[in-house]
């Protein structure tokens, strides 16, 4: 059962409030990142090397920007749900409750240094018509994110597309 277009479209283009990440950029989180990625870039991990570059010290991997604004597992943030959360709730109520990321584009502007406070402003950019995908019926939803530091400099602009689908419908089809 597809969701009314007007309902979906009502979520498009509303900027969320500016939400600050829980942790400031820090060497520990950078190390946890480089450990998993096996990234040996000395800009991220070697203060001696980084000191003599234009950054004058270590920087966080630019790809790590969104990590600083991820919702913690606990406690749940005390704020009104943003347009992304509200939209996903409406879709889940209609049976489109499973999510898979399909595309991400990041453009980097200002490097992140330990101590920086990253915040994000996000909005729903686009919602496709209902598509019949290999995983089941669903919608491609694209979000736009802007990541900003404590000096109001834009660190990164990102778009992020997810497929929100009904996995139960696909499984029922398979079982027939």
């Amino acid at each position: 059962m597809a969701i009314a277009e007007a309902v979906l479209n009502s979520y498009i283009g509303l900027d969320s409030e500016r939400i600050a990440g829980v942790d400031a950029v820090c060497e520990q989180m950078i190390r946890h990142w480089t450990e998993v990625m096996e990234d040996t870039n000395p800009l991220y991990s070697d203060p001696q090397y980084a000191k003599n570059t234009k950054y004058e010290g270590v920087i966080a991997p630019p790809m790590q920007v969104q990590v600083y604004t991820m919702n913690p597992l606990w406690p749940k943030p005390e704020r009104d749900p943003n347009s992304m959360e509200s939209l996903l709730k409406v879709m889940a109520e209609e049976g489109y409750s499973t999510i898979v990321a399909t595309e991400q584009n990041q453009e980097y502007f200002t490097p992140m240094k330990p101590g920086d406070q990253i915040s994000q402003i996000m909005s729903v950019k686009e919602i496709s018509a209902e598509k019949q995908t290999a995983r089941g019926p669903g919608y491609f939803v694209t979000f736009a994110y802007k990541f900003i530091n404590q000096n109001d400099e834009v660190v990164c602009q990102q778009t992020f597309t997810i497929l929100v689908y009904n996995s139960i419908a696909a499984m029922k089809e398979e079982a027939k």
Partner: protein
């Protein structure tokens, strides 16, 4: 710390069509779940809970997009050295990365250009595993010039 001199790739030495070295990465459950929880703070259950992943129609827990993005960035700066400055990463996901897969990354210089005093190259990369294309897209990075 072992003192090693980092690689420096100069813009002058790069040509359109140049191929990046092939990089293979073994995908383990630790990389998938650690990539989600430890490296990227993503607690979505499909990245650490086998049963949740099965319910979502996947064969096993699968890598989150932020970890894939991190591996792409690393792949590119491994080639340029730390003087390469990432400007953008475009990433399209197709088949998932499951534990037991091997991700094979390849890339090719698709453009070389100058913009706002930056000397830039664009790389078209592809990440494949045994099921097909996991990730593909383009990265733009600025490089130092000689002189």
């Amino acid at each position: 710390m072992i003192e090693t001199k980092p690689v420096v790739l100069n813009w002058n030495d790069v040509k359109v069509g140049d191929e990046l070295p092939v990089h293979k990465r073994q995908i383990t459950a630790a990389l998938v779940s650690g990539g989600a929880i430890s490296a990227t703070r993503d607690y979505s259950d499909v990245h650490h809970d086998y049963h949740a992943a099965r319910r979502a129609g996947a064969d096993d827990i699968f890598m989150n997009i932020l970890t894939t993005n991190g591996l792409i960035g690393k792949y590119i700066t491994d080639w340029t050295g730390p003087a390469g400055e990432l400007k953008s990463i475009q990433l399209r996901l197709a088949v998932p990365n499951y534990p037991g897969d091997i991700l094979e990354l390849t890339g090719k210089v698709s453009k070389k250009f100058e913009e706002n005093d930056d000397h830039l190259v664009e790389i078209e990369y592809l990440g494949k595993n045994k099921q097909g294309n996991h990730a593909k897209g383009k990265v733009i990075i600025s490089l130092p010039i000689r002189g």
